[in-house]
């Protein structure tokens, strides 16, 4: 089953989302900020990354840019999670290299669909 790295600084969000993903059989790795996220992605090479955008230390946009510029992590799909429902955020996320975009609070079924679609593109269930 696929491994998903969840980069999220809010403890409750992290707890909630990781539990819901684990329920669907995904293995979930956790990171608390952008820097940790980049480090974890480089060392564990997950199949997909869920990235909150407003993160401490290094924000989600910078972290995504970082991952997409590094050859070993560039191919890992990144789904941006943002609390801002503004369309500018969406463009900004795709500009940074994100492959998907979800606003918080996350609509679980839609997120699961996006995850499945992106994983299928990589050949991982």
């Amino acid at each position: 089953m696929a491994r998903i790295l969840l980069v999220e600084d809010n403890e409750m969000n992290r707890d909630m989302l990781s539990r819901r993903l684990q329920k669907r059989g995904y293995e979930v790795l956790l990171a608390n900020d952008g820097r940790e996220g980049v480090d974890s992605a480089s060392s564990h090479l997950p199949d997909l990354i869920l990235m909150d955008m407003s993160l401490p230390v290094m924000n989600g946009w910078d972290a995504t840019r970082h991952l997409k510029h590094s050859p070993e992590t560039a191919a890992i799909p990144v789904i941006a999670l943002t609390a801002h429902a503004l369309s500018g955020d969406r463009d900004k996320a795709f500009e940074a290299g994100c492959d998907g975009y979800e606003t918080k609070p996350v609509e679980m079924n839609r997120l699961l669909d996006t995850i499945a679609r992106l994983l299928q593109g990589r050949g991982t269930p």
Binding site: M12, N13, M16, L17, R20, A83, L86, K104, P105
Partner: protein, 532 residues
Amino acid sequence: MSTAGTALEDSLSGLGHRLRTPLTHILGYSGLLLENEDVSPGTHPELQAVHAQASLILARIEHWLSPRCAGFSGEKVAALQADISEPLGLIVRIAGSLVQRLSGPPLLDALRIARACGELLSFVQQETAHNDSAAAAPSPLPAPAPESHTGLAPAGVLVIDDNPANRDMLVRQLSHYGHHALSAESGPEALSILESRGREAQAIELVLLDVMMPGMSGVDVLRHIRSMPSLAGIPVIMISALDEVESAARCIELGADEYLVKPFDPVLLRARLHSALERKRLQQQQRERTRQLEQATEDLKRANEDLQAFASAASHDLQEPLRTVSTTLEFFNLQWGGELTGEQSELFRLAVDGARRMSHLISDLLAYSMAGGEDGALEPVACETALLEALTNLRQAIRESGARITHADLPVIMAKPGHLVQLFQNLVGNAIKYRGEQRPEIRIRARREGQDWVLSVRDNGLGIDEKYFRRIFQPFGRLHGSDLPGSGLGLAICERIVRKAGGRLWVESTPGAGSTFCFTARAATSHAAGGD
């Protein structure tokens, strides 16, 4: 209320972010509970209702806080509050009932929903307070627990905020909790209050400081407060309209104790306030205790030094008249010794013997007080050298008793050279003194134990009953009468010497089968002497 309105406008986008976070939690955790097999399906309709009402609140937030929604910020916020209070009330009721019915991990999730409700509820209540004029009825505050329950005494708190409505609300809230609240509308005013109040009995014990103020900013005020020695340790809680991680981090770096984001939950404010005050009081208590402890240690040290000085001075001063007695007796003996009758000669011998014992006692007292003297540095000392010196001092007793003394290879240990000689002299001297019927056989050995050496002096003498093992090391803890002379300080001196060098002294013995006195000593680091 124009100032409050501007502040609201500034924080409108931030407000949306803050409201979405608890909503995310309500939606997420109700979803998790719906998926949880341990939760009875009977609760599903309620959980679905929570989910639906939270989605409704979300839609209303998106509507009222959208930049496309026309109108004055204050009005939009008021409309939003009115709009969400009903669905929120429904969620609160369901969450409350779930908390009572669930248990185990699902209960934790229900509590998380309840907590998120609390955050939204405080928005509804607090922003209403913003919109009230200062003269209006008190804002809806949660009923405070009586102060006696928290165990916290009322504190002097200074509120620094340029916004009159915020200032008023905070002062009212603090007074509500039983604190003495003062307020200042600018940095300079606050600093002058702090400077003058610092010297008064009713001092300021905590500062609530707004980050964004015209002129002197909250950050500047904080920096100033932290540079004033008279205000050292005063807790400062920063309040900000912006949920900015960088600003918060900066304030904490500059020495702020807490950082609260407006509009804050009154319960959270109260908790932060009290934790900061309690921390400060604990620190003060800690400082006071440390001071007392240092004082006590200092007193004890001085008393010990005085005692030491007294003992050594007394020993010296006692020796002096005694020497006069001994010299006079000696002179008397030379002059008239030959003319004494048998009885007179016996009485004279008692006087000489008494003076000699007195002299021994005094020199032992002196040695005992010196052994407890200041902790001079230990140095590597070869045990063999110290032992030979001790045996030289004991040569008369050795010759008279015919004792046979042997020793194995002895190590170099950390000690004071003079002390080590005294130690061997007392232990070997005792072994000879308390001998049995047969000729004394005394053996000195050493064995390595980790960083330490264990040295032992074994004899074939009288031996000691186990019940006296403690008493013999106490000053004047003698087991024998005048049949075997002694000051009763020999082993007490040994014990002190060993303890001062960081070691232990003990005895292993069986009455009639001899004794072995053992002591530990630190091995000398630069030497590696062989053991037995």
